[in-house]
């Protein structure tokens, strides 16, 4: 049987002069690491569910993408994290949203899928579920990068002035 894997780290990526060469290189490096994490499992007989979880965890841990560490800030300057996972073999799925603390939201989604009592839980209940399952939780500061702080401040300035922000601010 064939195996295959594809990933994305978000759209809305701006022209190539919008980030430093080091930032582009870092993003490409972490995309490669995500592919390796997922593909290593597929190549050794791991399931597609294992592979997508492993690939997403790498990108959640990277500051270059809008998920986990490096996630966008909402209007209150808080991180609210959403994630889901679905198994095409069984149509089982798990999803969480509005998490303030789960280090790797996709892991919580996977555990919820396997738990089976619900497909989707949100807010403080999602954070409690993750903690009860032994997943690492973090303070909000763990998820924050200076890039996201700057983007939120710029959007607030544009909103106050009634001017258009950049795509980098609009997208994560």
């Amino acid at each position: 049987m064939k195996i295959a894997l594809a990933i994305h780290g978000g759209c809305g990526v701006m022209p190539e002069n919008s980030m430093t060469p080091e930032e582009w290189a870092g993003a490409r490096r972490d995309l490669g690491a995500a592919l390796r994490a997922g593909y290593a499992l597929l190549k050794t007989g791991g399931s597609a569910v294992d592979a997508v979880e492993a690939a997403v965890v790498v990108m959640e841990d990277s500051p270059h993408f809008n998920a986990g560490h490096g996630a966008a800030l909402n209007e209150n300057g808080a991180h609210e994290l959403d994630a889901s996972i679905m198994d095409g073999a069984t149509l089982e799925a798990g999803a969480i949203s509005a998490s303030h603390a789960i280090r790797n939201p996709v892991k919580a989604a996977r555990l919820l899928m396997e738990d089976g009592r619900a497909v989707y839980i949100t807010g403080p209940a999602a954070d409690r579920f993750a903690e009860e399952k032994g997943l690492p939780v973090e303070p909000q500061s763990y998820f924050t990068t200076q890039k996201r702080v700057d983007a939120l401040q710029a959007m607030k300035r544009h909103a106050a002035a009634g001017t258009e922000g950049t795509e980098n601010e609009k997208h994560g």
């Binding site: 190539e16 993408f65 609210e80 679905m86 073999a89 994560g172």
Partner: protein
């Protein structure tokens, strides 16, 4: 937003998506990423999909499930089905949107209507590539 789709050696498909939403999003806003059928969907024998972009539209168009339906019922291939959603249905709303998808044979589609999209894929032959814009880089596995 980040996401992944995979086909394993047993022929099973899966999809996953994770996100922080977007900068300055309303307090309590939930996008498409955790909405099964919208930002994330997988069905064996058909496709696996993970989306990125303005989630409200992914929810309204039920993008993941819509792609699977076009493939299953209209017999569209994955390139046609995904292009139809991203570049025909969503593009007129002038919203940024993209996705990665795999069909049951491991064929990858990664359309987007923004200037770029962080993406990567491994072909069934075992070659790996990453890209941000048009230029594609082969990477070691």
């Amino acid at each position: 937003t980040v996401g992944a789709v995979a086909l394993d050696a047993a022929g099973h498909l899966a999809a996953a998506t994770s996100t922080g939403g977007y900068t300055n999003k309303p307090d309590g806003r939930v996008g498409d990423s955790p909405v099964i059928g919208a930002g994330t969907y997988a069905r064996d024998g058909v496709c696996a999909v993970s989306g990125t972009g303005k989630g409200e539209f992914f929810i309204r168009y039920v993008v993941g499930h819509e792609i699977a339906s076009r493939m299953a019922y209209l017999k569209q291939d994955i390139a046609v089905a995904t292009d139809g959603l991203i570049n025909h249905d969503l593009a007129p709303h002038q919203i940024g949107a993209g996705l990665v998808a795999l069909d049951a044979q491991g064929i990858v589609a990664a359309p987007y209507n923004t200037p770029g999209m962080f993406r990567g894929w491994v072909t069934p032959e075992g070659k790996a590539f990453v890209a941000t814009h048009e230029e594609v880089y082969e990477v070691e596995l």
